[in-house]
Symmetry: C2
Subunit: 241 residues, 2 copies
Amino acid sequence: MTYCVGLLLNAGMVLLSDTRTNAGLDNIAIYRKMFHFEQPGERVISIVTAGSLSVTQTTLARLREAIDDPDSTESTSILKAPTMLKVASIIGDMLSRVRQEIDEKMATMKQSASASMIVAAQRKGGAMRLFLIYPEGNFIEATEDTPFLQIGEHKYGKPILDRVVKPATSLADAEKAVLLSMDSTLRSNLSVGMPLDLCVIEKDALRVGRKRRIEAGDESFRAMSEAWSKALRDGFTQITL
Amino acid sequence: MTYCVGLLLNAGMVLLSDTRTNAGLDNIAIYRKMFHFEQPGERVISIVTAGSLSVTQTTLARLREAIDDPDSTESTSILKAPTMLKVASIIGDMLSRVRQEIDEKMATMKQSASASMIVAAQRKGGAMRLFLIYPEGNFIEATEDTPFLQIGEHKYGKPILDRVVKPATSLADAEKAVLLSMDSTLRSNLSVGMPLDLCVIEKDALRVGRKRRIEAGDESFRAMSEAWSKALRDGFTQITL
């Protein structure tokens, strides 16, 4: 499993991903699930991934190949695509193709492979866009009413997002919200694990302004987690039936 | 779907269930999922159910039939079984049989049926026991380390239980904890719905001491839910990264 979350706020976009990959409980490993494609000042595209590692790695590798291809066009390179909607569509088509290819191979073993992605993107002169791309290649987009998107093990971490994330939420609060959302998930699902990758893309900055890897022993994350536990217990104590 | 939770505490046991049943999003109904079998002063058995309504209703009906059968024995009637372990085993066997029967009928339509239960029970001279009975009829039991059991949509409501429920938790706090756990679930999963059924079985009381149905417009539940939202938001504000 995996847990990744993306927020689309008035002030910018925030992405957070874990790094645990597992083929069974007895075979776990650390793999980065956050990827950046930047042309600073022109466009920024950040992607977080969930699902079968062979699907997500191959999809990302082919997207990179397409970018590096001297014959790439507006329809094949996410760095040349004229709009971020087109970027989502290129990524979706690639994900769907790779998933189908691998799924066919897996079918011979009566298994299947799937993956999904969250894409945060902005181009010069355009609006910030946050997409959730499904394994079939179609996608949805975050809006004012629902300014966050989640992939992977999304349930444990949703209540906190539901309650505190609004389009007007500041980037500092957004960072706190996604980390607390991840904290609840880490406590309950062993297949989601540290370290974490966090990135913040400020509105119109057209670059990833802040990248942070939070290691397993991170002191500030631990302190935040404990403070949140204490706040929950204190809040619980104060409530009367 | 459904959400039911049971707590096994030093002071007693607490069960909470929702009442929503659905056959598709366009066909929802209210059905009680909490059932009591009492011989006050002798034994108390409370059951909450999740899963296919035809499986749970038929299982409960057959358990009642066995109780009413003048030829019932220690091996067939949960009111005659000598131990609560035997009670769990009778319920498990009945659930498994009914599920298999119905599952075979469903197989002709390429569908399947399943259900699970939580059983809180105590007999005179015995300890309180809290079991989770799986569709296959096997079961697990709550312990000091994990004093709560959940069935149905368990994920949204687990973080609060993880943080506040200990064997030493008071019954009043336990009631608050399960209601807040349900509140998080209600907010996130449409297939879990009001009204709610709550019961409290005090240690050695050998009867259900408190039964409460919480209707959709219940003022105290609404106030608690709002106070909790506020406590979460306040706690969130106070935490620093």
